[in-house]
């Protein structure tokens, strides 16, 4: 797969039907390995440990990062690049975590990147056989960033265990695209690419689920604080989540408010 194989005029789909065909989509993928220079979009890859995150990372970038079968394999973040339909993407593999609420280094690395790195799209990898527990992380990610694609991985294993996951119901509840995948066999990769491209370009407007609070007192406090946060930091995409963290007394978010790091997240500045 050389760069020359895809000249601009070849990249345009021969016909309208071709553009939606999975085979055409995967032929459009150029794996760039560690070369993530001159990118158009930054994509973050989040998920619980052991859900096939690294497999998806490798499938998109063509890298061969060893995939581990246990938590804690990836502690720091790995980067790679790929090109799809004439756009260059930089992919960042975040450490696998179960939550974004605690203070261990791996969770902080993941959370800080979502919050301050402001990726254009965040892929949340979910294990279809352990959907309930995996959704915890997805809901927390949706509270921080609204541009999310859910990769519902290991659907083949779920099927072996006699489980079927209704992708449309999941997508409706979460308000973002959900792509069923069996990444180990390469299934679902073209569909994932298409979903990433649509969310990145804004062609797919996401309506992310709001963080559930289910507690009138907390809801009230958050509702009171959000307008003040929005007044201090206009354009902040996750005021609700920031409000909750401030009420909880999160030290690093408090620090980010105090030194203005949070202010740097306003859309105009984030482009720099």
């Amino acid at each position: 797969m050389t760069e020359q194989a895809l000249t601009p005029d070849m990249a345009a789909a021969p016909s309208a039907q071709c553009a939606t065909c999975p085979i055409y989509s995967s032929a459009q993928l150029v794996k760039l390995g560690v070369d993530a220079s001159g990118y158009d979009y930054v994509i973050a890859l989040a998920g619980n440990p052991n859900t096939g995150k690294s497999t998806i990372f490798n499938a998109l970038t063509g890298l061969r990062q060893h995939t581990g079968n246990w938590s804690g394999k990836t502690v720091s973040r790995a980067e790679g690049g790929f090109r799809f339909r004439e756009q260059r993407y930089k992919l960042i593999d975040l450490p696998g975590t179960y939550s974004l609420l605690s203070t261990s280094t791996d969770e902080e690395v993941a959370r800080d990147f979502l919050l301050f790195g402001r990726p254009d799209v965040t892929i949340v990898v979910l294990d279809a056989t352990r959907l309930e527990r995996n959704l915890n992380l997805a809901l927390q990610v949706l509270a921080i960033t609204d541009r999310v694609v859910v990769a519902l991985n290991l659907v083949d294993e779920a099927r072996r265990h006699g489980m079927t996951v209704d992708v449309r119901s999941l997508s409706r509840d979460l308000g973002v695209p959900v792509v069923p995948m069996a990444a180990r066999r390469g299934q679902g990769v073209p569909e994932l690419l298409a979903a990433i491209a649509e969310v990145a370009s804004g062609a797919y407007p996401t309506r992310p689920r709001r963080l559930p609070l289910r507690d009138p007192a907390v809801e009230q406090a958050v509702a009171a604080l959000v307008p003040q946060i929005e007044a201090t930091f206009p354009g902040l995409p996750n005021a609700r989540w920031v409000a909750l963290r401030l009420i909880d007394g999160d030290a690093s978010i408090t620090q980010a408010v105090r030194d203005g790091t949070l202010g740097a997240l306003a859309p105009t500045m984030a482009l720099a």
Binding site: P49, N50, R64, H66, T67, G68, N69, W70, S71, G72, V75, S76, S99, L101, T103, S104, T105, D106, T129, L131, E132, R133, L135, N136, L139, E157, R160, H161, G162, M163, T164, V165, D166, S169, D173, L174, R184, R209, L211, P212, L213, R214, D215, A217, V218, A221, A224, L225, Q228, I229, T232, A243, L244, L246, I247, D248, G249, T254, V257, R258
Partner: protein
């Protein structure tokens, strides 16, 4: 609006909503997740694959069978490594250190290269790299893929599960078993992996004790010593098995040292309670055998070998210079070895090994080639002075070490122990500094294993000598 005012507002609300906010939010998220999952997932009947997973888990993580199975698996891996690497190692050694070596010398003679240049390049740089390749390549090419297969199969998390109880009893974090197993690949990676531990106290314990996990650079030393000296004492049919068992024994001594040192630290310098965590047992997945073999050959074997070769080439030149620059009657190397000999004797080792450990501070991979080169060059020059010329055909490893170096089983056993218990390589020390940013903890992590190694080998040597 000013930020301090905003923070004050937040603090006011914190009092209003009352305590345990974190737990309440977590619970709300859980409830929401459950409802979404319930809507999306439909299950049909029983799940037979799950039942098999659980049945296997009950055996491999049981209190009775967990540890014996673990020892058996490790012995199996080492046995395959040792039995499988014997023949290719001998062939490769014969080819690289005898045939190619002789050919290079004849070429040097043909072009009438100066003797010092031929010596430096062929006896120094070439021979050191040739030893590294022939001694390390075959066992690594077998060991790494096998170990990676165990990892991919999902067995390593079960080992972590078994060890978790012991770590908790030692007052350390259960996740330390995971960083310890990363250390079995590379200690620098193991030290970085301790980031998964939240509590600074437990993380420091994990960092300080990570060096007790035998790393890639040290497995070849152990495997070689086990094969040449321990396995050789057993009946011919059993020798590979005995050699494998000796390597497993050292590994297990390493695990116990980790636990004992962790317990001592958590009761003295780093006091505190062990925190709890939940360890997930991932489902067993059929490993993709060819891909695993391919990636572990590329990722681990060749990378480790390359690192060893790049370190060995300059070290080979250094050793050749040390052995060929004379100060009075003796070479520099001989002076150094003589100087270190009493220390070596005290530890049941010898001066050559101590010098090798000083040369090999940048990388443990250098130990074996350095020892071989020093033993060969010193032995040869001493023999040459006595008028004897060593036939290169006799350069079998065992002959070199036992014959020229005067090695005994005690030397081999203590080298294995010292290989387990000595200072981390410079890369790991640097990583510890980066992770802790503390001179005190870096120094402790460096000197503690070395101190332990000196005490243990000294006691073993004294006991063997007194016992006869």
């Amino acid at each position: 609006m000013n930020t301090e005012h905003l923070l004050a507002e937040a603090a006011k609300h914190r009092h209003a909503v009352g305590g345990a906010l974190h737990d309440r939010v977590t619970e709300a998220i859980y409830t929401d997740a459950t409802q979404i999952a319930d809507r999306a997932v439909t299950r049909a009947g029983e799940r037979p694959a799950f039942a098999l997973d659980r049945a296997i888990d009950q055996v491999v993580t049981s209190r009775v069978w967990g540890f014996p199975i673990m020892a058996l698996m490790l012995t199996g891996v080492f046995w395959l490594t040792i039995a499988g690497a014997n023949v290719p190692s001998a062939l490769l050694g014969e080819f690289l250190t005898v045939q190619v070596y002789a050919w290079l010398h004849s070429v040097a003679q043909a072009v009438s290269a100066p003797a010092w240049l031929a010596g430096l390049l062929i006896d120094g740089v070439y021979l050191a790299t040739a030893w590294v390749v022939s001694v390390m390549l075959p066992p690594m090419a077998i060991f790494f893929p096998l170990f990676t297969l165990l990892e991919d199969l999902g067995y390593l998390p079960r080992v972590a599960f078994n060890l978790d109880r012991l770590f908790k009893a030692a007052g350390a974090h259960g996740k330390q078993s995971l960083s310890m197993m990363m250390g079995w690949g590379c200690n620098a990676a193991g030290v970085v992996a301790t980031r998964i531990i939240d509590s600074p106290r437990e993380r420091l314990i994990a960092i300080i004790t990570n060096n007790f996990s035998i790393c890639n650079g040290r497995w070849p030393t152990l495997i070689l010593m086990g094969t040449l000296f321990i396995g050789a004492t057993a009946a011919p049919g059993l020798s590979s098995f005995v050699a494998a068992a000796s390597v497993v024994t050292v590994t297990i001594i390493g695990i116990f040292t980790t636990l004992i040192v962790s317990a001592l630290l958590s009761r003295t310098l780093l006091k505190g309670e062990a925190s709890t965590f939940s360890l997930e047992l991932p489902p067993y997945r059929p490993p993709r055998i060819w891909q695993t073999i391919y990636t572990s050959l590329i990722d681990r074997t060749l990378i480790v070998l390359w690192r060893a070769v790049t370190m060995a080439a300059p070290a080979g030149a250094l050793i050749w210079l040390l052995s060929n620059i004379y100060l009075g009657d003796l070479s520099l190397a001989a002076h150094l070895v003589n100087l270190l000999e009493p220390v070596g004797w005290l530890l049941g080792l010898n001066g050559v090994i101590i010098l090798a450990y000083i040369v090999a501070i940048p990388a443990n991979e250098l130990i074996i080639p350095t020892i071989l080169m020093l033993t060969l060059s010193l032995g040869r020059s001493q023999l040459a002075q006595a008028g004897v010329l060593l036939e290169l055909e006799d350069a079998q490893l065992h002959t070199v070490l036992a014959g020229l170096g005067g090695w005994t089983t005690l030397t081999a056993v203590n080298l294995m122990l010292f290989s387990l218990l000595h200072n981390p390589c410079s890369t790991t020390i640097l990583t510890i500094w980066n992770e802790t940013k503390s001179l005190k903890w870096t120094a402790l992590a460096t000197l503690l294993p070395l101190g332990l190694g000196i005490v243990v080998t000294m006691v073993v040597a004294a006991a063997v000598r007194l016992g006869g």
